[in-house]
């Protein structure tokens, strides 16, 4: 492992600013790390030449005194963001050979800020999954291994490639997208920080859609500060996305004062699940203690509709997905499997182009929107969704932020739970409610399981109050002092 790949994004930025390294040097080190980490399968497409070219122009920009917020910093781009001229797959066979002629707003913002693209990171197909196992390009390995057995583990999903790449020190940071936990859960599984901002904070324009009312891009990195720096560059109001919100983007890094004295932190009693592993509960209690020691007041709160969040999510997200994925029909781009008629071509193309999990969700979504079932499922789910949002709104009348575990377990084995979708969906139990309410949340690595695997704690905040989330997250990070390294790096 090169000295350069050990750096945090913030420290690399500072070294570059001081002229103690160059974008080229930094990028070369990371390109080598990407190559060395190929067994993890974290990248679908590596773009080393592009990275080096971007690094060179970045060094020139810096010389010209035009350095951006992320000038010269190599990052991974989740392969759900359309990148001009670079293969964009969404982890699906159906987008075979798709090279967009356009750049997503978020990736464009990052390049404008000077970031360097190392490649497109692996993900669950169309971001549907919690293990990264549904990718057409194969599962991703978590760089962590359990102390009790040495079998490979999943990095979580759907932003599993980004999480694995950042944890394995292949990239200083990476983008993720979070629909029901797809940034926070893999961050927790891989021992890194993952931040899902408020819905509407980052533009969805140019991001391959999974569930439009939930999808939100966010940063993944190795420190809270790094995610704060990343988000500032990613976020923008975008008139091309009608759901993007026109509010100023603050300097999140500056919000990390470390001072949470007098702040009220809610502890939702409904997040205490039956059968939840003791180590998760213990970590949560530890988190409460850390925040109290830092001067915050913790109060038990009730989010009474939490119990309905998962079923609600698994109606709304597939409903939207079933419609969003209708455009992959073999007519204009991507895979086309010939057929004797139009219908046959559709059937062949979509039958071969989509994997099992995507098909499952398209079928569920089609079902819940069908005449005769619409009110019982989709409409009811929409009503429950607003109740869940109201739970949070009520809680935030008295608290500034909420502390919960990120996931109900540490990373599980590669291939586990594949035959049990319900068990797989349970991974999102703590992350989905905030997604449904559109609220910001961060997962911070806070400890290790008995098997030596990272566990995360989640801080949730009010809409567009990412600053508090970063501030509390930073305090939690400081208190936890998580500095364990994944086994992959030792090997």
């Amino acid at each position: 492992m090169s000295e350069f790949t050990k750096l945090t994004l913030a420290s690399a930025r500072d070294l570059l600013a001081k002229g103690e390294t160059s974008a080229k040097e930094l990028t070369e080190a990371h390109v080598a790390a990407v190559e060395a980490a190929r067994p993890l399968n974290a990248f679908i497409t590596e773009t080393p030449e592009k990275a080096l070219a971007m690094a060179e122009t970045s060094d020139q920009r810096r010389k010209a005194g035009e350095a951006g917020l992320l000038e010269g910093l190599p990052i991974g781009m989740k392969d759900l963001f359309c990148t001009e001229g670079v293969l964009t797959t969404a982890g699906s066979h159906i987008l075979d050979g798709f090279h967009p002629t356009y750049e997503s707003t978020v990736s464009g913002n990052l390049w404008n800020a000077g970031a360097v693209m190392l490649g497109k990171t692996n993900l669950d197909e169309f971001a549907m999954g919690s293990s990264n196992m549904t990718s057409f390009y194969g599962g991703v390995e978590n760089p962590w291994r359990s102390a009790s057995d040495n079998r490979p583990l999943v990095p979580g999903g759907s932003s599993g490639g980004s999480a694995s790449a950042v944890a394995a020190r292949c990239a200083l940071a990476a983008t993720g997208t979070d629909t029901g936990g797809s940034i926070r859960q893999p961050a927790a599984f891989c021992g890194i920080v993952g931040m899902k901002p408020t819905y509407g904070r980052c533009s969805r324009w140019g991001v391959v859609a999974f569930a439009s009312s939930l999808d939100q891009a966010g940063p993944m990195a190795r420190s809270v500060r790094d995610t704060a720096i990343m988000l500032r560059a990613m976020a923008s109001y975008d008139p091309k996305d009608s759901t993007s919100v026109d509010v100023p983007v603050p300097n999140y890094e500056a919000a990390m004062t470390g001072d949470i004295k007098g702040m009220k932190i809610g502890i939702p009693k409904e997040y205490r699940l039956d059968g939840m592993p003791d180590e998760i509960e213990a970590l949560w209690q530890q988190g409460i203690k850390w925040l109290e020691e830092a001067g915050a007041e913790t109060v038990e709160i009730s989010l009474p509709h939490t119990h309905y969040a998962l079923p609600t999510y698994y109606i709304i997200a597939p409903a939207e997905a079933s419609s969003n994925l209708a455009r992959y029909d073999g007519v204009r781009y991507g895979l086309r499997e010939p057929g004797a008629s139009l219908d046959e071509m559709y059937e062949e193309t979509r039958g071969k182009g989509f994997g099992a999990e995507v098909k499952r969700r398209v079928l569920i979504g089609t079902y819940v929107l069908s005449a005769g079932y619409y009110d019982a499922y989709y409409n009811k789910a929409r009503r429950v969704r607003s109740l869940i949002a109201r739970d949070f709104a009520k809680a935030y009348e008295t608290v500034d932020a909420i502390l919960t575990p990120t996931a109900p377990s540490p990373a599980f084995g590669l291939g586990d739970k594949m035959d049990d979708p319900i068990a797989m969906y349970l991974n999102d139990v703590f992350t989905v409610p905030a997604s449904l309410a559109g609220l910001p949340g961060i997962s911070v690595p806070a400890g290790l399981s008995k098997d030596g695997l990272p566990l995360g704690l989640q801080i949730l905040g009010k809409a567009f109050d990412e600053e508090t989330v970063f501030k509390v997250g930073g305090v939690l990070e400081e208190a936890a002092g998580f500095d364990a390294l994944p086994g992959f790096l030792a090997a």
């Binding site: 987008l95 209708a326 005449a371």
Partner: protein, 482 residues
């Protein structure tokens, strides 16, 4: 009320129309691509229209404004909150796999249209709703033996779907409805109404019932793209339904497709085969909220609409309801008429515009824009009639010449010496001559044959090539003969 006589008695048609009107705007409903007609295939397609991954719809404010303007023109309720929903179905020329439309919450609610019928009567037809939606692309099936080509130029173009209540009872009423709707849309400038370019298309909902009974089962005939075809489709479908019903059969609720080539329709799909469109609110778009003040501004900027114009023509210009109706049927015609009538005898102007002018236009297939005689020139001709320079009869001759040459009336009258002879001594001399040369006819007149006076007038006109002032000729003849 028009009814159809069947073998077993009278039947009444119940007709409702759904009109798809393409909104006049430079760009599409959710993208910046151009909407110009007749461009090269696939040359007006944005990333959004082609449904590329990650593309998002962005609402075109002009389209919304046009829908509101149309709603106001139909005296309809404007809904300050409306919702775009996705109508999901697969077809090769529907790139998104869904059409963005409005379903439960349309932008415009109930309104009314007043039909002007042939007999001069009027009749009110209710508007159920108007909503905004995207058009699909076009599939072209005749270019390749086994494959179809897709042109996405039309994909995403803004349509207003205007749904009537089932208030029409005959093919004539349906025709009058479409004509009136088209007139209103053209007045408003919200749709060009060109059915042959597909910018206005109609679906016909029709059921039959015994007069006074509840509605029967209806069929929907799609894709009818001219007023004549709509009327034809209605007649055919009404007859078909009556036949089925009189033979003791039942009408199946179904969608039928009209074929303009054969003038017939065939069943496309039954109710059971109907698509389940799985409508749901489009999560890419927020509910559309309109500011009341903005709607008021649009309302204040509406032009005078045909019904108001017609009433004004009748009440303040003294035209007959029929003439007024003919003149307001087209906004440009009405404007032309008003230019001609300005400061002149409005009835005379109406007669000339509707009679000679329309006649000449039809004969030479000219339009108001291309006609050789403009409003000022026609007005000039009317002025010559009004001040007695020429007679009405000569004026027709002058008008023909004007149409041929494009010259002003005065110049033609001058050049051809067509000025009316109103000099009494000249007329008297002529009359004296004719009386002297035709003693037999004088005798007849004196014997009480009043009709022979006409013959004398004819002789004077013949001698003057029609230029003699007819009133004066009559007067002089009577005094000389009497």
């Amino acid at each position: 009320m028009a009814t159809i006589q069947g073998k077993t008695g009278e039947w009444e048609m119940v007709i409702g129309l759904e009109v798809h009107a393409q909104v006049i705007s430079n760009s599409k409903l959710f993208s910046g691509a151009s909407t110009a007609f007749g461009a090269e295939p696939n040359s007006q397609v944005s990333l959004v229209d082609a449904a590329m991954p990650g593309m998002l719809p962005m609402l075109n404010k002009v389209a919304v404004e046009q829908a509101v303007r149309t709603g106001l023109g139909l005296n309809a309720q404007i809904n300050l909150t409306s919702v775009f929903e996705r109508k999901n179905y697969f077809y090769a020329d529907l790139p998104q796999g869904y059409q963005i439309s409005q379903y439960l919450h349309p932008i415009v609610g109930e309104g009314t249209i007043i039909l002007d019928l042939e007999d001069g009567e009027t009749r009110e037809v209710g508007i159920e709703r108007l909503h905004l939606e995207q058009d699909a692309g076009k599939s072209i099936h005749d270019q390749h033996p086994s494959q179809s080509y897709i042109d996405l130029n039309r994909s995403g173009v803004t349509l207003m779907e205007i749904v009537s209540k089932p208030d029409m009872r005959s093919a004539e009423e349906a025709g009058a409805y479409l004509r009136k709707l088209r007139t209103i849309l053209r007045y408003l400038g919200t749709c060009d109404g060109n059915m042959d370019e597909g910018s206005m298309r109609a679906d016909v909902n029709l059921s039959m019932r015994r007069p006074g009974e509840p509605f029967g089962t209806r069929t929907e005939t799609k894709n009818v793209n001219s007023i004549r075809f709509v009327q034809q489709a209605i007649e055919m479908e009404a007859r078909r339904q009556v036949e089925v019903l009189e033979e003791g059969g039942e009408i199946r609720q179904e969608t039928r497709l009209f074929d303009g080539m054969t003038g017939k329709s065939r069943s496309m799909r039954s109710k059971e085969e109907a698509h389940d469109y799985r409508y749901f609110p489009d999560p890419d778009l927020l509910p559309l909220e309109l500011e009341p003040a903005w709607v008021e501004d649009i309302k204040a900027g509406l032009p005078e609409l045909p019904d108001a114009k017609k009433a004004r023509f009748v009440e303040t210009l003294g035209l007959s309801a029929y003439d007024a109706g003919v003149l307001v049927a087209d906004r440009d015609t009405a404007a032309f008429f008003e230019a001609v009538a300005e400061g002149r005898d409005a009835k005379l102007a109406a007669n000339w515009v509707i009679g000679d002018y329309f006649g000449a236009m039809n004969k030479s297939s000219a339009s108001l824009d291309s006609a050789p005689v403009d409003a000022a020139k026609l007005g000039g001709l009317l002025d010559l009639i009004a001040d007695g320079t020429i007679s009405g009869r000569i004026a027709k001759e002058v008008f023909e010449e004007m149409w041929e040459s494009g010259q002003a009336a005065g110049a033609i009258v001058e050049a051809k010496g067509l000025k009316q002879i109103s000099d009494s001594s000249e007329i008297e001399t002529l009359v004296d001559d004719i009386i002297a040369n035709n003693p037999k006819q004088v005798e007849q007149f004196k014997g009480g044959n009043e009709k022979i006076l006409g013959w004398f007038v004819g002789q004077v006109m013949k001698a003057t090539q029609g230029k003699a002032n007819p009133g004066m000729v009559n007067q002089v003849l009577r005094s000389k003969l009497g």
